[in-house]
Symmetry: C2
Subunit: 503 residues, 2 copies
């Protein structure tokens, strides 16, 4: 049985990856033809995630690299799954709802939990991306569920799912992220997730006034449009964490070498980035792309672990909520520190230091390592829309890994991620030269490569990676402690989250 | 015969519209099952345009509103079709190639012209959007043509098509638009279509230093990313026109009312925009959306005319190249004037004038006309990435209409464009309340609504519309004169285009 389950879910995960690369029309069509196996299925992996992924790529982040938005979605979704499945657990309680307890006979198969988590998903998704409501409705109707069933009868899985989903929606609507877009006393034409903290960059895309500080980059979007970056959701720093109270406790030391008055250190860390760029190879390029993509790196490593260890549906939900929450809560501190230090990215520092002097580095897609003027150098990946220090990706990986270690009781990971020849997004048709399997034996390896890949990619200095590697395990620990208190039922009742300014 | 042709092509045009709204996978699949009717088909409408449209929406402009890039694609494509079909015409010569003349027997059916224009399309598309080469290859292989056939044997349609396409590619590669991305002595990491003229906005997205001048807007992209506008292709002003020599001849008067020192006029034109916003109705909203979409308004009005008048394949090509060239060449002068005056958009002027004072206007999707603080007002459409004056859309429509009038010998248009209830992109599910047919009896009506729709949409002042309405017919006339000289064979041989700075 365990083996069959493993096989079936593997197929779906593979299908999920196919969806990611685009041919989701067919996939949905074939789903609607079959009736869903509620009894043995895992609707997280087989229904909810496949419905969500294409919309994340089309509406949220085309590279799956905009972590603050993606983590919000994955955390609220998995929170809703957890809360919806809690009544079917012997002791667990929800984060944002207390829905009673169902007789154990109702969780002998996956049927009730699957139904509950799908209704919970529907409520959360309709709140997070209301313009895609037709997609969320289809997610239910394709497998015979009725999206218009808004029962909150807690004796039924539909009612439990709806109540759990609505609880999360209410619980997080005003958590500080400005999901409703009406902060700053904005009553008309809401601007969801818009900064309401009045962040202003010191530098402009056209001029570097202060070489220590962040400079928005001018980035190409498609064939010929160029857009200037805006710090994405600076208010994430004010958002209420799940697993601890005060982000202020977690200060990180200032980025000494990013201060251009410390010239030798400033130059040295920039030179390290150029050296890493010159030293790129296929494996490093692929790892850079993998860890930039939060769905593939964070999402698939967790789902794949759930599958390979044969986790039950409830365990899959617990693990997924745990690792999402760990990264989500880690991000709050990271954004606090990013805003505090507002640190320069490598591209600005390298232009400032070297101008049109020639340097050795990666020379652009398909060009390999060459000599080129420093101000024509590009990092292998585009920088995300936020200041450099500390590295968010590294911190997410560290928190995620530590959470997984705590839950699974081991550092062993044994995750393989395969990339076909030429499947790189940066160097399509060229990289990798041969079919390649990226292998991560342990979570420690995963974190190490995740962090280092940000330097290889040219978007971070070493210090930003090191500080996140050293300081972010704690978010995995705290998330695990909070999850444990939810599972054993000792977690206190929780009021709807409030952004810091509202306290 | 004429009637059958009409019917068949109508079906394809309808299919094209279906493609625009997304389900292109199926459509391509069904095409590949049938063998293509080269003899009677019209490969412009049935093959090339359907292959191109989805890529324009995914890679070039998601709203089909970024005119400078779209016009470049449509003009170079139709130029290639014209040059590829010229040898099959009794007298015509190509713009960028002189490929001899084929016996009339070779153009008794559409077969040779269809083959020639598809190879020409393939060469141009592979140059304009090389990253989509697999799509362009599939366009050929789906109907049994071999993309690897790079013959330039001018006794064959394949050779003629390849030679014509390559001629256009060479002819326009350095026309000033920076397609290769290597202007400003940029030898590495090319930035295609990047400004190389050093345009810098006076205002920032955060602060209006000069209320007369253009302010880049901060716009939401998807769920929660915000990006700051960058003036799109300011170098369009330096690009070589097809149909005249010196853009400097076509100066437009300064936008008096956009100068905030002329306060009463400045206030009055802003008040007019607010009044138009308050006066929106379903018809105006739909027209605003129609004319913002350059594929639907410019492209479909021309193709639909070709179909309804039963134009032959060669006539369809002539008309399409003519109207594309007219708008393309008009845009060069418009960009020259936009850059010269760098004029403020309504959103900035209205915020400057009224701050948080309450005004009456459209209140956002589904809100109708309400009272709201001026600095929370939004225009019905997002502004495109360029200064306000003069109106580019109006000038494109005027040049397009005049070109069509000259070619067809009449102002009569009789074009209907139907929109299903709730099909608005701005107010989906709400607007229009009922299925609606937008009807344009004459090209004069078309231009009038096109221009006025920019004020209804809140993105232009009246003066910018009026000046374009008055001054842009000439671009239709000049394009028609140049086309006539190409058709009768009197046009001089032309060297590859050069941007102005290279002269």
């Amino acid at each position: 049985m365990g083996k069959l389950f493993h096989k079936g879910v593997s197929k779906v995960l593979c299908c999920t990856m196919v969806i990611v690369i685009g041919c989701f029309t067919k996939s949905f069509a074939s789903e609607s033809e079959t009736s869903y196996d509620f009894k043995n299925g895992n609707a997280v992996i087989e229904v909810a995630v496949p419905a969500l992924l294409p919309v994340i790529l089309s509406d949220v982040s085309s590279t799956a690299g905009d972590a603050t938005l993606i983590l919000r979605m994955s955390t609220l979704m998995s929170n809703a799954w957890f809360d919806a499945s809690a009544p079917y657990h012997p002791t667990a309680v929800g984060v944002y709802s207390r829905l009673g307890r169902r007789p154990l006979s109702e969780s002998e198969t996956n049927t009730n939990i699957n139904i509950a988590i799908l209704y919970a998903s529907y409520r959360v998704l309709s709140s997070l991306l209301p313009q895609r409501t037709p997609v969320w409705r289809k997610m239910l109707t394709d497998i015979g569920l009725d999206p218009d069933d808004d029962s909150v009868d807690l004796a039924t899985p539909v009612g439990i799912g709806n109540a759990a989903g609505l609880g999360v929606v209410r619980g997080r609507a005003r958590d500080g992220m400005n999901q409703l877009g009406d902060e700053s006393e904005r009553a008309f034409n809401p601007m969801p997730y818009m900064d309401y903290t009045n962040y202003r960059p010191i530098n402009s895309a056209y001029r570097l006034f202060d070489p220590s500080r962040w400079q928005p980059d001018l980035q190409r979007k498609g064939m010929g449009l160029y857009k200037i970056q805006q710090f994405v959701t600076p208010q994430y720093a004010l958002t209420e964490p799940y697993s601890y109270q005060a982000p202020q406790r977690f200060n990180m030391p200032p980025p000494y070498a990013s201060n251009h008055w410390n010239y030798p250190a400033y130059k040295q860390q920039a030179d390290e980035v150029l050296a890493a760029s010159a030293d790129l190879n296929d494996e490093r390029k692929l790892k850079a792309e993998l860890f930039d993509n939060k769905i593939e790196s964070l999402g698939f490593s967790a789902l794949s672990t759930a599958i390979s260890r044969g986790l039950s549906l409830q365990e899959t939900i617990e693990l997924d909520f745990l690792i999402s929450m760990a990264a989500h809560d880690a991000g709050i501190v990271i954004w606090q520190e990013k805003r505090r230090y507002d640190a320069v990215r490598p591209f600005s520092a390298i232009r400032y230091l070297y101008g049109d002097e020639w340097v050795s580095a990666w020379g652009g897609p398909g060009r390999g390592t060459i000599r080129l003027p420093a101000n024509q150098w590009k990092s292998y990946l585009e920088e995300a829309d936020h200041p450099e220090y500390p590295s968010a990706s590294t911190c997410f990986c560290a928190a995620h890994a530590q959470a997984a270690r705590r839950y699974l009781g081991t550092d062993v990971l044994n995750w393989e991620f395969s990339k076909a020849a030429g499947s790189s997004h940066v160097e399509p048709g060229i990289t990798p030269a041969e079919d390649t399997i990226l292998r991560f034996d342990t979570w420690t390896d995963f974190v190490s490569d995740c962090g280092q890949s940000r330097v290889w990619a040219g978007v971070h200095f070493q210090a930003a990676v090191d500080v996140s590697t050293q300081m972010c395990d704690v978010f995995g620990d705290m998330a695990h402690e909070y999850l444990s208190s939810l599972i054993d039922g000792s977690a206190p009742v929780r009021r709807p989250a409030k952004g810091k300014r509202y306290k």
